[in-house]
């Protein structure tokens, strides 16, 4: 049985390894998140906004040309059609409602690809709350359109200039900000990482993905479960949402696609499940990339959203226990997969999402297989990264 225990562990992964300065805020969340989540009024507001504002349910689309190519039935769960262009907004809608119920006035977030930053800036505008987004200086450069979107939405974008100046460092800065603002601030984490209760909270808020998937599959195929679900994993929020209602259905293969960067063993990679060992990152006991001395290693991926040296504790448990399989996809394969999907189905995926599509090349199929790829986001933000590859992908 895959479930989180009372102390916030999935198996041996999880917990809340936080300094005392964060204790009051984390404890407040831990005591309240389940009650708020189960509260009828919260569910009513959450569901209404997901429907009327985000545009849910997102379609489950039968990708016929992709299916013909692979010789299996492939559905795409269209999170790219969410308002703001990725699954990230499911979480931020939920957390902004939570922040309002906790009486918080100031919202902070970290972002890698900028999708979570945009989704947070969006809900802050919606709620009329102050928004500060920490973003690695490197990511600010490679995801420029999203930086402008955040600013247009009224958020302040603060560069994180330590370490590799990417997602890990932005997360460090957001945590430090929260330490400095213990009373009025809520931290909207963007992935299924961090101290308990964040990983479970994120999984619940994203679980609408698999909830809809079940119903849509039943309607379209007569079965409520696919044979396999593929999702890219940065910290693991879109994967957690796509897997959620199937976690305890062992007949459904869960395939977690990580970023291999320039190659798993190139020294420039973010393939945490291969390269990671157990340790503590951002308050959670999980798998992370580190030296023998326990210093966290700077990861690398062409995609800002997967450029993270850890994975959420749920995924560490799923992979360590054999419930999920991990596949690592290098930059080049991901870019090719993005072009392939664009040409086959007329959909430009986010570079993060493209890793999940590239993994399709690594599976064996029989004709009656039904697969779902979680299309976590759209690729508009990545055009600058894709453009140099236009020539070789004519």
């Amino acid at each position: 049985m895959i479930a989180i225990d009372e102390r916030g562990y999935y198996g041996e992964f999880g917990g809340a390894y936080i300094p005392e300065m964060l204790h009051a805020n984390i404890e407040e969340l831990r005591r309240q998140y389940v009650d708020i989540w189960e509260d009828d009024a919260f569910q009513r507001d959450f569901r209404r906004l997901l429907r009327d504002y985000v545009g849910r349910p997102t379609p489950l689309y039968l990708a016929e040309r992709l299916s013909a190519h692979y010789g299996a039935t492939i559905y795409l769960k269209r999170e790219d059609l969410c308002h703001t262009g990725a699954h990230k907004v499911n979480n931020t809608i939920g957390q902004i409602l939570l922040a309002q119920r906790l009486g918080k006035k100031r919202i902070i977030a970290e972002t890698g690809a900028g999708q979570h930053g945009v989704a947070t800036a969006t809900v802050c505008a919606l709620a009329g709350l102050q928004c500060i987004v920490y973003m690695g200086a490197v990511d600010i450069r490679r995801q420029a359109p999203n930086v402008s979107r955040m600013k247009m939405l009224g958020a302040e974008v603060r560069p994180a200039t330590s370490g590799s100046q990417t997602l890990k460092d932005a997360t460090n800065e957001a945590i430090r900000d929260w330490i400095n603002h213990p009373e009025d601030t809520h931290y909207i984490i963007g992935s299924a990482v961090g101290p308990h209760p964040y990983p479970d909270m994120l999984a619940r808020l994203q679980s609408v993905i698999s909830e809809e998937m079940m119903q849509q599959l039943a309607e379209q195929t007569g079965r409520d479960a696919p044979d396999a679900i593929l999702a890219c994993v940065g910290g693991g929020s879109n994967a957690a949402g796509a897997y959620y209602h199937y976690l305890n259905r062992p007949e459904v293969r869960l395939i977690a696609v990580e970023a291999a960067g320039k190659g798993v063993h190139s020294g420039e990679s973010a393939a945490t499940s291969v390269l990671g060992t157990q340790g503590i990152i951002h308050g959670s006991r999980t798998l992370l990339m580190q030296t023998n001395d326990g210093q966290i290693v700077e990861p690398y991926s062409l995609s800002a959203g997967l450029d993270y040296p850890g994975i959420g504790p749920m995924h560490a448990h799923l992979i360590a226990s054999g419930r999920a399989e991990a596949i690592a996809i290098p930059d080049g394969e991901a870019v090719r997969a993005a072009f392939f999907l664009a040409r086959k189905e007329g959909i430009i995926p986010a570079l993060e999402t493209a890793h999940a599509f590239a993994a399709l090349d690594h599976l064996a199929y029989s004709a009656d297989d039904v697969l779902v790829v979680n299309l976590s986001g759209r690729g508009d933000k990545d055009l600058a990264t894709f453009i140099p590859f236009l020539d070789e992908n004519r």
């Binding site: 005392e20 009051a24 330590s162 503590i280 001395d293 210093q295």
Partner: protein
């Protein structure tokens, strides 16, 4: 007797605990800094084990850690330096660092090695109390090591009682809701918090840290606790020293203590 316990019995006020990062500014400065601090009149040293991602630390301590790691500092190397140093100083030594490097070293081996080398106490800010109770409390007691938990202005009275029960040596009282390195004067709100904690009459002595940077803030902190901890301001002094460290260290400690330094 544990040197920290002995210190607080002998001198229950105006304790000056100086924090610095092992391996900063140079790899082999660890031992000379401790010895210079002892000669200058510090009561206690807190040696930081550098970490790539120190969540509770501000830019000054972060940068010192980054530099120390680039200098090749590591836990095994720090233990070598301490083995060498221990016979040459009587100052109580507290190691401060984050849990992950300790886990990778091997947590139990780490505690045992600390005791063997004559380390007197530990501060591991991201080790939660329940984990400590379940896995380390007995070991720490058996090894007669000190162990300091943190309290902040947000820590509930109930939780402070638990910290008082679990801490050995001293309680680390974080002066303000902040990461390390603040340079402001102590506010009325902080004084209120200091008074509130003082009135609780805890069993364990308290040292106030975070934002203690000069004689004024040190003296104020000492009115409400047995002493105070200075970190970022000292690291800045080391960074600014330019040449040999000892004169800068002496000047720094004397300035905190209010000792007039004769001008030759």
């Amino acid at each position: 007797m544990n040197r920290i316990t002995e210190l607080f019995q002998r001198k229950p006020h105006e304790i000056l605990n100086i924090y610095f990062t092992a391996g900063y500014p140079r790899r082999d400065d660890t031992a000379p800094i401790v010895q210079a601090l002892e000669r200058a009149g510090a009561d206690l040293v807190e040696v930081g084990m550098p970490y790539s991602d120190p969540l509770a630390d501000g830019p000054t301590i972060q940068a010192s850690g980054t530099r120390a790691l680039a200098n090749g500092m590591s836990l095994p190397l720090l233990f070598e330096q301490l083995a060498d140093l221990r016979p040459r100083t009587r100052l109580p030594i507290v190691l401060m660092g984050y849990l992950n490097p300790i886990m990778q070293y091997g947590d139990e081996a780490f505690f045992r090695r600390c005791a063997e080398l004559g380390v007197d106490g530990l501060i591991i800010p991201d080790l939660p109390m329940p984990e400590y109770e379940a896995h380390y409390r007995d070991l720490v007691r058996d090894l007669d090591l000190g162990f300091s938990f943190l309290i902040t202005p947000q820590t509930s009275a109930e939780r402070i009682r638990r910290v008082d029960e679990l801490s050995r040596g001293f309680i680390y009282m974080v002066s303000n809701a902040s990461i390390t390195g603040a340079k402001n004067a102590i506010s009325g709100k902080q004084i209120e918090y200091f008074r509130r904690i003082q009135a609780m009459e805890l069993d364990t002595p308290r040292l106030i840290g975070f934002g203690i940077s000069n004689r004024e803030t040190f003296t104020t902190a000492c009115e409400f606790a047995q002493g105070a901890i200075i970190g970022s301001a000292f690291i800045r002094a080391l960074g600014d020293a330019g040449g040999p460290l000892e004169p800068a260290i002496t000047r720094f400690v004397h300035a905190i203590r209010g000792i007039q330094v004769p001008i030759h």
